[in-house]
Amino acid sequence: MTTMFEPLSAAIGGALIGLSAVLLMLLNGRIAGISGIMAGCLPTTGGPRSWRITFLAGLVAAPIVALAAGTPLIVPAMPGSWGIVITGGLLVGFGTRMAGGCTSGHGVCGIARLSPRSIVATLTFMAAAIAVVFIARHVVGG
């Protein structure tokens, strides 16, 4: 599926993501890392759950607010294969925990703090994802 380069909506959306990260730090003193916040709600982890649960509830409910403002929720185009869907989910869950962060925690908050650890993480997951898409679209598929 071809998508359009939309710099204006990308910039506005990115600024909102950054604003959320700034507000969560200024108000709650916390890093807006989605995988870490999710994992902090699981029975396998300790630590306070209440703020994490309300943050995630807000995240899940965001499409309702967006709809009221005129931005529709688009049903995501998922891979044809259930095996790829499940494998992808397992890898994202396991990998983000092993690395201690994902696109938000390392990619946005970590790089904004100029953390070398987060810069290495981001370059690594970007490179791996680019390689996978290259193989899937230009080597196996095509």
């Binding site: 959306g13 730090m25 309300t54 807000g58 869907v85 869950g93």
Partner: protein, 151 residues
């Protein structure tokens, strides 16, 4: 109570950012990753804007004594660049490339009710539980407390 409401508000703003930017759509993410095909640079602009905003905002936070609704800052404290960081990031990147979804967009898309999206989220949570259970056994600790560093 105020801390719970502010966290919910931040969650909504984060989700709006993903929706407005188009990053809740796996196709846009995968097209960004497809440098040699249907390249869509949108994600780079999203990252740049998010980084500019958070870099400036974090600098502001560093000058304040404490957060508004919390007793202290929970700035990340981990700095090590080790094998789990690199291997974990590579595994995450493979899954991200395969489906085009990372944790935030996966949760924002839940209300679409897409069966495959729901399956992805369940698998993602399972992957987290498997990892944390494995680490807890490996380190002989009953629980792995999430570091403030975790993103």
């Amino acid at each position: 109570m105020a801390a719970l409401i502010s966290a919910a508000f931040c969650g909504i703003v984060f989700g709006l950012g993903l929706l407005v930017s188009g990053m809740a759509q796996p196709a846009k993410v995968q097209n960004f990753l497809d440098l040699f095909g249907r390249w869509d640079p949108s994600l780079a602009v999203v990252m740049a804007a998010a980084l500019a905003m958070s870099w400036a905002g974090f600098a502001l936070a560093r000058r304040r004594a404490q957060p508004t609704f919390a007793p202290q800052w929970s700035w990340p404290d981990r700095t090590e660049i080790d094998a789990p960081l690199v291997v974990g990031s590579a595994l995450f990147g493979i899954g991200w490339g395969l489906v085009g979804l990372c944790p935030g967009p996966a949760l924002v898309d839940l209300l679409t009710g897409s069966p495959k999206l729901i399956a992805f989220v369940i698998a993602m949570v399972a992957g987290m539980i498997v990892h944390d259970g494995w680490r807890a056994r490996a380190t002989m600790l009953p629980k792995t407390a999430p570091s403030a560093a975790d993103g």
